[in-house]
Symmetry: C2
Subunit: 146 residues, 2 copies
């Protein structure tokens, strides 16, 4: 097993029983996080009833935290793992991307975080890898409500 997702690269923002929520460095969508299943499993069909129940509670918590911190207008949720299938022996590990979406820019740490495609599909080409200092500011604002 060489699954990269099993070895978290970042400190989690918070954890639930079965899920771990991490802020990611690309903050093109302010507050963007990844939600990782704590055990190694590759498809949504493999989730247990308890893991879905806990997922639902995690969704309420992370949406509430981001709503209080940055007041987005809505959220995009995706579960993909496409990259895993570029490997000769795919080892997919269930994880979710949550992208908060904003009708208006949000000013934080001297940066105007914008969402020029609000109301449309997110744009993966538009990246905003923020510095460690800015990540810390975003993280602390979120943790204040977590």
């Amino acid at each position: 097993m060489s699954c990269e997702i099993c070895k978290p690269k970042y400190r989690p923002l918070f954890e639930t029983i079965f899920w771990r929520v991490h802020l990611v460095p690309d903050q093109a969508y302010l507050g963007r996080c990844v939600v990782v299943l704590k055990r190694h499993a590759g498809t949504l069909s493999m989730l247990t009833a308890d893991e879905w129940k806990d997922f639902g509670q995690m969704v309420v918590r992370i949406e509430l935290v981001i709503n209080k911190a940055f007041e987005p207008d809505m959220f995009n949720w995706t579960c993909m793992a496409n990259d895993a299938y570029l490997e000769e022996y795919p080892e997919p590990h269930i994880h979710w991307h949550i992208r908060p979406r904003y009708a208006k820019p949000v000013a934080l740490a001297g940066i105007a975080f914008e969402d020029p495609d609000f109301g449309k599909h997110y744009d993966r080409e538009r990246k905003n890898i923020v510095s460690d200092d800015v990540q810390r500011v975003i993280r602390e604002r979120l943790l204040h409500y977590a």
Copy 2:
């Protein structure tokens, strides 16, 4: 209330207690379906524990049905509702897109269904709106296993 999603345009493939699964006309990803919550609610935070439990069971069923019918390699799941926010008074209604992804083409009804971006993000520009006849063939193949 003028929510378009509350009034289904297509006959469902199948229903569970809280969700309705519809095949969609754009079959760029063979077997692509949309999964609609039967009541009007706008964000994942609003789902009840029972709706999540039923969602998990629906995921097992639709992934199994598509696996048996067309043998994809994996699935992309997304929950967006971006379009709703282009309206002056957004009325989002929770729905999921499921796109089966394929390492190899699948031949059906005289068409080679291909997935040239397998292992990468789906391509929304690549469309394949199939005829009513072809939709019927896809639908019947799926229903055979539903």
